[in-house]
């Protein structure tokens, strides 16, 4: 049964997150594969948690969507209860606790949580066992070795989101060409003090040829 599940559940990804001086950039490809089969080529792997926070998903789509639902629920409940946004640090810690509670039968997912709150922009990586890491730049998924290759040489401190989004797009594009689990287009989201916004096709085309 487990090999049936392995071959029929959706996997594969490259996601990139960059924390800049004025906001956070999240970037991901659009492919969902089941083994060698490309099951979906229009997958939204960047999810909005609330107006001030977003996340990317890599790993099993069902598990990651379930985690997304939980984070979204708790962020909304907190905002309504307390009349303020749930800090990014807390969202990330909550995600880490959710993963760790399932330590013995883990959610197969590796997520990035990023956003902009009173402390300014921040970005976290939470892995399937619940480790929580604050990052300035990070990439997850099957194409992450390729994306890191570009990020390690291009990332520098003091980037703005305008510069960061170019690097993020280039990193995912590199992963698309050298990783078969990655492909079918790129989504980019920027979260800064204006809130969460996804770049349109035209805005992306102005930066890079897809």
């Amino acid at each position: 049964m487990s090999d049936y599940i392995e071959q029929h559940t959706y996997h594969g990804t490259t996601t990139v997150g960059i924390s800049c001086t004025d906001g956070v950039v999240l970037c991901a490809d659009m492919r969902a594969s089941a083994g060698y089969f490309i099951a979906n080529n229009n997958t939204m792997k960047i999810q909005k948690i609330d107006n001030h926070a977003g996340m990317t998903i890599a790993g099993g789509v069902a598990d990651a969507q379930n985690v997304t639902d939980m984070l979204r629920y708790h962020s909304n409940i907190h905002r309504i209860d307390k009349q303020e946004y749930l800090p990014i640090k807390s969202i990330a810690r909550l995600a880490s606790l959710i993963f760790f509670q399932n330590r013995y039968y883990p959610f197969i997912a590796d997520i990035l949580v990023g956003g902009y709150d009173k402390q300014g922009p921040s970005l976290y990586n939470i892995d399937m066992f619940g480790s929580l890491d604050k990052k300035t730049y990070v990439t997850t998924g099957s194409g992450s070795p390729v994306a890191y290759g570009l990020l390690e040489s291009e990332y520098r401190d003091g980037l703005t989101v305008e510069e960061g989004k170019i690097i993020a797009l280039r990193a995912v594009k590199a992963a698309i060409t050298r990783n078969i689990g990655t492909g079918d287009g790129i989504n980019v989201a920027i979260i800064d003090k204006q809130g969460y916004r996804l770049l349109t096709k035209e805005q992306k085309k102005a930066i890079i040829t897809l």
Partner: protein
């Protein structure tokens, strides 16, 4: 062991201008033996939402039956039609509840809520929206046709023909698929079902 009762299948879902077409072939084969030649793998869930499945037949039948009941109850609670995105999410929740002993079925949920939409669900309950999709052992073959010939905003007639054509090409190259095609059309006037060859 459950593998013995794991027949193949081909099911497709296509959106067109004002509705969706869902189609599946009718074969169940356990190993090399054809057990049934008349199995329905398309399901009417509500008047405006349908589904088609591939995988273990018991699981898809139970899933469809429970969804039919749940949407009926939900419709009475809310006093309105249950849109396809809700049906997909309800189904996803049902499947994810069984994360550690999954329902071994892949599903395409489709319907109309103003626009025509379809969603694919994997055995664990991930939900991915699509314009057209295919699941099952014949999915690769069916998508070979769909990827080439699908156009947004087709007529109903063209969409039905494309669905049947894609399943036919899967039947030709997939031993686990065959024995005719069930078609379910959903539009703003409700559902229609018929069998093609």
């Amino acid at each position: 062991m459950a593998y013995m009762y794991m027949p193949g299948a081909t099911a497709v879902g296509i959106t067109y201008d004002g509705g969706v077409v869902m189609a599946s072939e009718r074969r169940i084969a356990y190993g090399n033996f054809v057990v049934s030649k008349t199995t329905k793998k398309t399901f009417k869930i509500t008047d405006f939402v349908g589904a088609c499945c591939a995988g273990m037949v018991a699981d898809m039948q139970v899933l469809a039956m429970q969804m039919k009941a749940m949407t009926k109850i939900r419709k009475m609670e809310l006093k309105r039609e249950i849109p396809p995105n809700s049906v997909a999410k309800m189904m996803s929740t049902m499947m994810y509840e069984r994360r550690y002993y999954p329902l071994m079925t892949q599903v395409i949920v489709g319907g109309v809520d103003g626009d025509a939409v379809i969603y694919t669900l994997d055995p664990l309950g991930s939900v991915l929206p699509d314009d057209y999709a295919s699941v099952g052992t014949g999915a690769e073959m069916a998508l070979g046709v769909l990827d080439q010939e699908f156009k947004p905003k087709m007529s109903e007639k063209d969409a039905v023909n494309l669905a049947v054509k894609s399943i036919k090409s899967a039947i030709m190259r997939d031993n686990a698929s065959g024995d005719g095609i069930d078609v379910l059309v959903v539009d703003k006037n409700g559902t229609r079902e018929f069998t093609a060859n």
